[in-house]
Symmetry: C2
Subunit: 140 residues, 2 copies
């Protein structure tokens, strides 16, 4: 492209659409998060990865950014026990397999999804979301 040409990358669009200013840090982190397929990361993991890739960001900013992305619907938090918070780059409704022996977390494919239907809800409440976590252990 020529000098002076204006471009808007898909990543930048994604941030703008979410109402977030496309700052250098956010662009870099978004690139790491969304430029490599579906991922499950913690703030610590993403920060370490950024440093490895020569991307300069503070851990505080990684935390803030992950929370902002999650708040904007770009990421989804996943609850597994343990203290760390995992963020999932796949935000559409889906479920997880969790390998208890090695801590790995993967998405279920569309053909593996489990159907869930709630029969009765507490008074005055509605479903925000249903989390399904299938905990696996090695066969026999």
């Amino acid at each position: 492209m020529e000098y002076g040409e204006e471009t808007t990358s898909p990543i930048e669009m994604k941030l703008r659409d979410a109402g977030l200013r496309p700052t250098r840090q956010r662009m870099d982190l978004a690139e790491l998060l969304f430029g490599n397929g579906n991922r499950h990361v913690t703030a610590e993991m993403l920060h370490a990865e950024a440093l490895r890739r020569q991307v300069s960001v503070s851990l505080a900013t990684v935390y803030n950014t992950l929370n902002q992305f999650a708040g904007a619907g770009l990421l989804r938090e996943v609850a597994i026990e343990g203290s760390k918070t995992y963020f999932d780059t796949t935000i559409s409704d889906h479920q997880h397999f969790y390998f208890e022996h090695d801590g790995r977390l993967i998405d279920l494919g569309p053909d593996e999804e489990v159907a869930v239907a709630v029969r009765k809800l507490p008074e005055g409440m509605k479903v925000a979301r249903i989390d399904v976590l299938i905990r696996l252990v090695p066969d026999k």
Copy 2:
């Protein structure tokens, strides 16, 4: 009962069976946990309750005790995102409603249970358990 009579309360048996010495603190905490139906508590909550009931235990001991009970299979940890760890006195297979606006966690009744069936499992793996968490928010 008469002086000198030996008794072994159900709570004490429970601890002994789990291989835990029935110390005063463990007995008191077990009483609070298991003597009032099904419960979902955090260490902080249980500690506050103990103090209210004139049961003297340190917060550190509450933490240690909850972890020991969980390790012994007397309690089950429930994964919800957020910082606090919840312990559930119901060990058997069941599901949860989580009230996002106030952090309350309750069990689904048998007539509210959601049917879950996994269609396909990763090679060489079997299901250890399936966690279902129904996140609720106030209607409209």
